[in-house]
Amino acid sequence: MSEAILEIKDLKCRIDEQAILKGLNLKVNKGEVHAIMGPNGSGKSTLSSVLAGKEDYEITQGNIHFLGEDIEDLSPEERSWKGMFLAFQYPVEIPGVSNINFLRTALNEKHNSLGLPPIAAKEFLAMVKEKAALVGLSNKLKNRSVNEGFSGGEKKRNEIFQMAMLSPKLAILDETDSGLDIDALKIVANGVNKLKSSENATIIITHYQRLLDYIVPDFVHVLHEGRIVKTGDKSLALELEEKGYDWLKLDLKV
């Protein structure tokens, strides 16, 4: 049986006639943590949106296999049911919908897709309690409207809390470190580390090396103009931090 959770081959995609990804290859196996770094505008957030199934992007070439299946035609919800999770860079505020109700609906939709009965109230609440503790999310926030009036740090914690509740096979963290202070960063990283297992995988998209001090990656990729131009281990991130992306551009003569 294949160990690959995600396999992207020669992926090209565009939005409004503008090409963003220009032949991207990436393979993520079970138990691995991959970091994708790169300067502004290199296509990092596009990659996460395309993986999660945002319909604004058009795939013009190549393919994405998730757990062995080509997912190009799958809707965002179908990808979620299969075990894909995107922690948003900018989590959306949903006024009037409580965090708890939102999660119960999400879980039940997943159960429904798997042919399982809805989750029992008692079991659900126990799960909420356990997973909220993982990221230190206060009771108050659980009952408030989704992300409404949350601070930047609370929003990111809430993303990881949702991730814990949905226990995905592949978690994509899109700039989860942005807007976090050091303490919050540690809490969030700690949560992600606890959710790691030999059966799932994590992709961390980030500008900075800082988060990688706490979530140690197996691979670091550098994305530049829609392609992965360099791959290394965690030391690559340190080197980038020290020398900046310009070093890489010179090095690669791109």
Partner: protein, 419 residues
């Protein structure tokens, strides 16, 4: 009878078997002359600009108010079984009603009104009368007077179900609620029909009279399937009284609500909230008018429209702050969501201020649900439909949360989310 041609077809089927007091007959004659002097409401008139009424003009209506409903269960509305008054096709249906007397609450049919009670009815402001309220006066089937005595707090919730259960029926009914000084009441009004019946019209005038320090809360639910509802509601508030009305327009070919509140005393509170969700071919027209005549009062309005494919919604709200009505706080808000390109909404919030020390605002927004929010919900495993439903719930939450009963909450949502 043809509504647009009452004079020629003056069949005198109006007062029928009911023995109403002569005062009603007098009104009836008076109304007839008004009807004949007015054009049938049409889109050239500002008041009826957004609504298509011509089908009313062409339909041959009757007003034979026989009972047809066997059991309230057919309605599928969580009304419970106590403190329940059923008005079917304009007449009190005693068999379906379940009402045992409550101390301090007096309930009388118009046909049984004694002359000393007549002063409680027909007190509404003629300035806001229109064609359909004259038709109501002319064809009046029957009415109900509810009187709450001084300083009485009615702890149970009174429920009135207004039914249209005959095809092409034109029902003219009246409700008068008279709140004596310090009286308190909560009233849930249902306007309902079943799929078995169509083209019926409930044309109703409600008068809510609040004396000093009285407090009245009305929740109004309109679920009429293929039938229609025209409601003219006249509210009069005296000093330190509180009036709250939450309107839920859930289904109906044409629903028109005209709420006119005259705030005739200081230190009053007025709250008008509503949700309307017209589906394909449905018109839902919400009109409100609040007149602040005295200083130091507060009024709040919050209407939410969720317009589905092919539906039309209207919000036309007016707040008038009269000269010398200082220190008024009046806020008016209408937010609408159009669920697709064929949904239509007209929004006209109006504010007229003749005093100089007031705090007033009005606002209106119309838009679609945010695609980014939909993507967020879908990425968490909700189907597009479920995600839209969730956003609808969030959108109307601040209005439906005003209804305390959980059953009604679910009833509202079931009807709005079913599309």
């Amino acid at each position: 009878m043809l509504l647009g041609d009452i004079k020629k077809n003056n069949s005198k089927m109006n007062l029928g078997e009911l023995k109403l007091d002569p005062i009603f007959r007098e009104n009836s004659e008076n109304a007839l002359s008004k009807i004949n002097a007015l054009p049938f409401p049409n889109r050239r008139q500002e008041k009826w600009k957004y609504i298509k009424l011509s089908k009313f003009k062409k339909t041959k209506f009757h007003n034979d108010s026989k009972f047809a409903l066997k059991t309230l269960k057919e309605l599928n509305i969580p009304i419970g079984s106590e403190n329940l008054i059923v008005i079917e096709n304009g007449r009190l249906n005693k068999k379906l009603s379940n009402f045992s007397s409550i101390e301090g609450l007096e309930l009388t049919n118009f046909s049984e009104l004694k002359s000393d009670s007549l002063s409680y009815v027909n007190q509404y402001n003629e300035d806001y009368d229109h064609y359909f309220s004259y038709l109501n006066q002319y064809f009046l089937n029957d009415g109900l007077l509810i009187k709450i005595s001084r300083n009485t707090k009615i702890s149970s919730v009174l429920k009135i179900v207004n039914l249209s259960t005959s095809n092409n029926i034109f029902i003219n009914s009246r409700l008068n609620v008279y709140m004596e000084e310090g009286a308190t009441l909560k009233l849930n009004q249902f306007y309902a029909s079943t799929n078995q019946f169509s083209n019926g019209v409930i044309n109703q005038i409600c008068e809510y009279d609040l004396k000093k320090s009285a407090s009245l809360e009305v929740n109004k639910f309109q679920r009429l399937n293929n039938n229609n509802n025209l409601c003219s509601e006249f509210v009069k508030q005296e000093q330190s009284s509180s009036f709250i009305m939450n309107t839920f327009s859930l289904s109906g070919s044409l629903l028109r609500n005209d709420i006119c509140v005259s705030v005739n005393g200081i230190d009053c509170r007025t709250e008008l909230n509503g949700v309307f969700s017209p589906s394909s071919g449905e018109y839902m027209d919400q009109n409100t008018r609040v007149d602040h005549v005295f200083p130091d009062c507060k009024s709040y309005e919050n209407y939410k429209g969720i317009v589905k494919s092919g539906g039309t919604g209207v919000f036309n709200g007016k707040v008038v702050v009269h000269k010398d009505a200082q220190r008024i706080e009046a806020f008016q808000k209408n937010n609408n969501v159009l669920l697709d390109d064929s949904a239509v909404v007209f929004s006209k919030p109006e504010l007229e201020i003749y005093a100089d020390d007031v705090k007033c605002s009005h606002g209106s927004t119309t838009g679609q649900f945010d695609e980014e929010a939909l993507f967020y919900l879908r990425s968490r495993g909700m189907s597009r439909t479920k995600a839209i439903q969730m956003l609808i719930v969030g959108f109307i939450n601040e209005v439906i949360s005003k209804v305390e009963e959980q059953d009604y909450n679910s009833f509202i949502l079931e009807n709005i989310l079913d599309y």
